[in-house]
Amino acid sequence: MEAKQKATTVLIHVILILISITMLVPFLWMILTAFKTLSESTSVNPFVIFPSEWITENFAKVINNMDFPMLYLNTILLIAGRVIAAVLTATLAGYAFARLNFRGKNFMFSLVLFQMMVPGQIFIIPQYLMVSQLGALNTIFALVFPGLVTAFGTFLLRQAYMGLPKDLEEAARLDGCNIPQTFLYIMAPLTRSSMVALGIFTAVFAYKDLMWPLICNKDVMPLSAALAKMQGQYASNYPQLMAASLLACIPMIVLYLIFQKQFIEGIATSGGKL
């Protein structure tokens, strides 16, 4: 029995490691390229895998070109704004769609789904015009604007609520909780991991959004948009682009690690206790 368990564990680790390598190869390539010179990175004959000299010039150039503290602050505000707004609105709406019965519910929900079915590019110009008319161009509000509500998040949380047993609510109602109380004290806390997942996704998508900040804002830029400027019209300086992307990845990874430790792992251990 022991041996069999050990064998299974080893097998699982092997599979995981193989898949990890597949995941990592492009990243390793990115890292290696960031340390090469431009000709080394585009040289194909001979094919250069390891840079002959690990130059840090690319990173230096990227860091010098950008006002990092301001960019980080903007990025944090952008992410915080969108995550708070999205999670709040989505969890309320998700509960309502999942558990409450009211006229017009199905029609409204189909509108929610509707939003997801079209390519995002059609929203850019109308939303830009709206922000412009509000007089809020070039502010953090403009950055947050498209992400204030999320159809995706609403759908996600609706699924989460639908997965909870109906009897919980009945039990709560028996005890005299009205709807908002049921929601606040019982249902919402149980969907914590979905809310965290939504938070993570909103943060990542907010972070990766390039086109919108470049269009609606001039100075108030988040990190990713500033890094997008590394791409020229005709030729990209690949090592610099890689260096910039790596620097950009790091905050996200840190954020993910924090979320992981605090929430996901936290919930996992408490969920099963009697």
């Binding site: 995941m23 990243f27 509108l111 992307s245 993910y256």
Partner: protein, 300 residues
């Protein structure tokens, strides 16, 4: 639906739910209608026009755009390409990430490390990813051909280019699916598994009888969103397939065509028509899936 244990409820509960239901959904719905639904209807409206520049001088041409659409072989080819992509990306990515999520849900060494590694593709800039994969797939100088010693035209052979793009798609979306599955798995209390082990069911049996049914709402959600997302593929194709590429015709997706028409060739009316086509297709598929949910998705 009267609750027999509580005969006092009745209409006051219904009214209550009505009020609270609307209050809860109001912020989201207002936001969606203003930010998103209005532009969608504007787009549909535009599809009946030959659009002028900067929103001026639109000429109403009725269904002419649609007539052109149905006769346009390029559009139909793009539709086929899009389907090819979605058919490969969606099932593979779901299965792989489901297995990974389950494997990573148990207590094991290095779990956080693995999870972070699988999450990495999600945080990398799309431009960087496209560039790296473009090089990996390069027929002359790419790493893949270098390692396998082959000379396959991964991204310039019209028959296989779309599948190479699908591989990149799967690679980048596994992390996303995995996060969703893990969060879904968290909500399954450990007691279920304990009870099952007490009863002697282990491993794969547990997977089929406990994990899958209880996770089905999440699986359903991932499937719907991935199908919708897959059918809207654009960024990868735009960044990996150059306009000189002979495989372009057999790889461009509907959204790619839409982008070409609306933003490059300044023909927003026709671009909007393509969007409407895509919208209709996605709607049909989604309705189909929603109907299917009643059959196999298990809500407790």
């Amino acid at each position: 639906m009267r609750d027999l244990a509580n005969p006092k409820k009745g209409t006051s509960q219904e009214r209550n739910e009505f009020v609270w239901g609307w209050i809860f959904i109001l912020p989201t719905m207002i936001g969606l209608i203003v930010l998103n639904i209005y532009p969608i209807f504007k787009t549909i409206y535009e599809s009946f026009f030959k659009t002028g520049d900067f929103g001026r001088g639109n000429i109403f041409i009725g269904v002419e755009n649609y007539a052109k659409l149905f006769g346009d072989a390029e559009v139909w080819q793009a539709l086929i390409n899009t389907f090819k992509y979605a058919i490969v990306e969606v099932p593979f990515s779901i299965v792989i990430s489901l297995v990974l999520a389950v494997l990573l849900n148990r207590k094991m060494k290095g779990r956080a490390v693995y999870r972070t590694i699988f999450f990495l593709p999600m945080v990398a800039a799309p431009a960087a990813i496209a560039m790296v994969w473009r090089w990996l797939f390069n027929a002359e100088f790419g790493l893949l051909n270098h390692i396998f010693g082959t000379k396959i035209n991964w991204v310039s052979n019209p028959s296989i280019a779309i599948f190479s793009i699908a591989i990149i798609g799967i690679w980048s979306i596994i992390g996303y699916n995995m996060v969703l599955f893990i969060s879904g798995l968290q909500e399954i209390p450990g007691d279920y598994y304990e009870a099952a082990s007490i009863d002697g069911a282990t491993g794969i049996k547990q997977f089929w009888h406990i994990t899958c049914p209880l996770l089905s709402p999440t699986i359903f959600f991932v499937m719907i969103t991935r199908v919708i997302g897959g059918l809207q593929v654009f960024d990868l194709i735009y960044m990996v397939i150059d306009k000189n590429n002979p495989a372009l015709y057999k790889t461009q997706s509907l959204v790619y065509l839409f982008y070409q028409n609306s933003f490059v060739e300044n023909n927003k009316g026709y671009g909007s028509t393509i969007v409407v086509l895509l919208l209709a297709i996605i709607m049909i598929i989604t309705v189909f899936q929603m109907w299917g949910q009643k059959k196999w998705v298990h809500y407790s």
